[in-house]
């Protein structure tokens, strides 16, 4: 029934062994979907990337001119680097903030009900609207915002401070804020797998709190740290909301550029080229992630 509804050649299907038939039933639909809606679009995008725009019309071509432009001219070449930098800072800071919370969740809170409650508290900000969270920081950091109002009323400063807004720092701050819950969950998943007896053994052998952290907890939590870090990096890298709301002239992210190219500038081939480059980078990143995970995972 499933076979004929998918228009699959019935003869071929009938000739397969039952095992293979089952395999096909489970795997073909998603595979087919991905081919049509993921791979084909990438191929089309690749095709576009070799063309160029002439007088607002698309001209197909076969050149790598777009790619050359990206790697050599500003702002494109700098944008990829800057996006990567922001992504990296976000990953690092959110991991640092995440550790205390994850450790308290894993080691301090033992009753199931309390742990669920804490888990919920950590997840909630993660699920609150992304736009709204970014915007909320704008209200806090702006010249008429909460922070400045507080500082002014306490007479700490004479006029509103502006270094906190419209620059790379505010973007990193906002993105760190947004991704910390995710980092907590990721690191917690690793910490949860550490048997309590390991920590007790370390304590029994005479190790103090910090020693236990550096020598036992941290090394064993690296898989979760890495998994969360990579995704946080990727999400920070590709973000355009935070830079749009809080970034300044010096914050040029690759996603913002792409949106401009598709809107006002109307240069779809160039945008496509950037897209292809990032797809390749992402693929490499996943590969590195897999390799790193294998090297770092300790069988507990």
């Amino acid at each position: 029934m499933l076979a004929s509804s998918r228009g699959f050649p019935r003869a071929t299907f009938a000739r397969m062994s039952p095992q293979m038939r089952l395999k096909a039933i489970w795997l073909l639909p998603p595979a087919a979907w991905f081919v049509v809606f993921l791979l084909v679009p990438y191929l089309i995008t690749a095709t576009y990337s070799f063309g160029h725009m002439q007088s607002y019309r698309y001209v197909p071509g076969f050149s790598l001119a777009n790619y050359a432009r990206i790697f050599t001219t500003a702002p494109y070449s700098g944008a990829i680097a800057q996006s990567a930098e922001i992504g990296l800072l976000t990953a690092v800071f959110s991991s640092i903030l995440a550790y205390p919370v994850a450790m308290v969740m894993a080691f301090r809170v033992t009753r199931a009900a309390a742990r669920s409650a804490l888990y919920l508290l950590v997840i909630l900000p993660w699920w609150a609207s992304y736009l709204v969270k970014a915007y909320a920081w704008k209200t806090i950091l702006g010249p008429h915002g909460i922070l400045n109002s507080l500082l002014l009323s306490l007479h700490v400063v004479e006029s509103p401070i502006t270094i906190l807004l419209y620059n790379t720092a505010s973007v990193v701050l906002t993105l760190t804020y947004i991704f910390t819950p995710f980092a907590v969950l990721s690191i917690y998943a690793s910490l949860e797998r550490i048997p309590a007896s390991l920590l007790e053994a370390a304590e029994d052998l005479g190790a103090g709190g910090m020693e236990i952290f550096w020598r036992i907890i941290l090394p064993l939590s690296v898989p979760g740290l890495l998994a969360g870090g990579v995704i946080t990096f990727a999400l920070g890298f590709g973000d355009f909301v935070a830079p749009a709301l809080l970034g300044g002239a010096d914050t040029l992210m690759i996603s913002t550029i792409m949106i401009n190219l598709l809107g006002v500038a109307n240069d779809r081939p160039l945008a496509s080229a950037i897209g292809i480059i990032i797809v390749i980078l992402a693929f490499l990143l996943i590969g590195v992630m897999g390799w790193a995970e294998r090297r770092v995972t300790v069988r507990i």
Binding site: W26, L27, P29, P30, A31, W33, F34, F37, L38, P41, I44, Y48, L97, A98, P100, V101, M103, F107, Y119, L120, V122, I123, L124, P125, W127, A128, S129, L131, V132, K133, Y135, A136, T139, I140, G142, H144, T180, L199, G209, I212, I231, A234, F237, G238, F240, V241, L245, S255, M258, I259, L262, R268, S272, G275, I278, V279, A282, F283, L285, I286
Partner: protein
Amino acid sequence: MRAIGSSRALLAACVLVMLFLYLPLFVMVVMSFNAGDSVGLPFTGFSLAWYARLFGNAQIMHAIINSLIVAVGTVAISLPLGVMAAVGLDRYEFPGKAVFRRIVLLPLILPGVITGVSLLNFYIINGVRLSLATIIFGQGTALVCVSLTEVFARLQQLGRSQYEAAQDLGAGESECFFRVILPNISGAVVGAALISASISLDEIAVTYLLTGRQNTLPMVIWSLLRREATPLVNAAGTLMVVATAILVTLGLRLSRSGAEAAE
């Protein structure tokens, strides 16, 4: 254990981080009740005026409905595909398995804009007009990996024995799936559905590029934010936080009890 658990510094750090996490949300919620016109301070009085204006704003109301339609459609597409792929990956070996896994994970790592651009090109070539449907297909494709990872993890936890026992007792494949496997993974499935729905409701990158004339809520809010700062945004944001809170709590309760019942 006691050394780590009872460290005061650790607890203090944890509390500080949690305060950091909740501060902007708190500000937003408080400000949504601000009677005055400004988005930030001063707080001139307690008022529900902005909520009233929110509900009176037809554009926003339409957008909410559109967002719900998109969310349902997205889950309808990504959930079955994700479950099927998860079962396939858990059970079978096939050539190109590693590549398949990576391709599926790609939308998770890629900036949403890229996924959006690719699909945009695809639609343009095929002459498809942008609409809610194009958004649904775009988000659905991107979110398959969410259902896939959730269900896959649960399947790995579950192991083969129940499936094999059912087969040994003579059950056919669909019987096996609906009567043995599905009940056991129901927690993960529900969890994945809710997570996908929440992501879809808040999604902006893919949506931005694939929107036709119908807007979703994030799109409307985005344009509001770009134009001018109005406290309307605070009200909308607060409502979204409450809605998401309810969804997430429900989702966690359901997936927890599902997992417990299965054990």
